[in-house]
């Protein structure tokens, strides 16, 4: 199948957005916190300045999905030391501009325990992670 691509340069004019890729790790509470913090920024705090792609679309999706980190300066948000969002983005898509790990926001070894129906403490962690994502979004946009 031949694909004739026209107007590909349109994307250059529209990349004044920051990409956020969350691990969304289903098996860990930190994954749920990562997801919640990312959604908080995407939907409420920076809806016009940010965009996202589901991480597994780097494998399941098409070329457009894998172009994500090439098209946007990208912040990855991970829940644990495995750094899935960072590693998979670097492997399949492109350079990561900034990497955030939820673990860095957990103080005094008070581990979150809920993967759903997050409690007050867990939501506070998500808020702090969202604060950091938002700060980084602003920093990136200032540099552009």
């Amino acid at each position: 199948m031949d694909n004739e691509i026209i107007d590909k340069t349109e994307i250059e004019n529209k990349s004044k957005k920051v990409g956020i890729v969350s691990c969304s790790g289903e098996d860990l509470p930190e994954g749920s916190i990562s997801r919640l913090a990312t959604l908080e920024v995407l939907l409420r705090r920076k809806p016009l300045d940010t965009t996202t792609v589901c991480l597994p679309l780097f494998i399941a999706g098409g070329e457009g999905d894998r172009l994500f980190a090439k098209n946007y300066p990208t912040i990855t948000v991970d829940g644990c030391e495995k750094l899935c969002a960072k590693k998979a983005t670097e492997k399949y898509s492109g350079k990561v501009t900034h990497s955030i790990n939820v673990k860095d926001f957990i103080k005094d070894n008070k581990k979150p325990v809920n993967r759903r129906n997050l409690n007050k403490y867990e939501k506070e962690i998500a808020e702090k992670v969202a604060d950091e994502i938002s700060r980084k979004v602003d920093d990136i946009l200032k540099e552009q």
Partner: protein, 152 residues
């Protein structure tokens, strides 16, 4: 098969060449006196995951602009307008169990129905060729831009 692609944000919108387009979201591919009809890539992206497709019956005669059925997605339910005049002669049976084909392959396996044409020359007055539709689509993409964001 030849396509034009327009990239906006993280989306790639495809426009298939050498077919016709109606402003309300359908494409038409004419082979002899039979038109195959589907929805455009832009239309399916805008409206989201298709949950079900209900079309008017075989044998029904349509005028251009008449409703031909409903598509229900996870976001909206809407009525489709026929891009041509003629008699419905076939539905895409694949959509009974796999309506998601409309999203996955809107110009291929996701076609909706076939119509035996009455007067395509007259219908063409209100249709766009692929180049005109591409320009029209770009404007629509810009207008609807924020609707493509997460959760909307």
């Amino acid at each position: 098969m030849n396509f034009q692609e327009y990239i906006y944000d993280k989306f790639i919108f495809k426009v298939k060449n050498e077919i016709y387009y109606h402003k309300d979201g359908c494409w038409v591919e004419k082979v002899e006196n039979i038109a195959t009809i589907g929805v455009t890539d832009f239309f399916q992206t805008l409206n989201g995951d298709v949950a079900s497709v209900s079309l008017f019956g075989i044998g029904i005669n349509l005028k251009q602009g008449d409703p031909i059925g409903d598509i229900e997605t996870m976001k909206v339910s809407f009525e489709l307008a026929s891009p041509v005049s003629g008699e419905i002669i076939e539905h895409n049976k694949l959509l009974d169990n796999s309506p998601e084909l409309v999203n996955l392959n809107p110009y291929g396996d996701g076609w909706l129905l076939k119509v035996k044409l009455d007067d395509f020359e007259k219908d063409k007055i209100n249709l766009m060729n692929s180049k005109s539709y591409f320009d029209f689509m770009k404007l629509k993409v810009e207008e609807e831009g924020e609707k493509f964001k997460s959760g909307q």
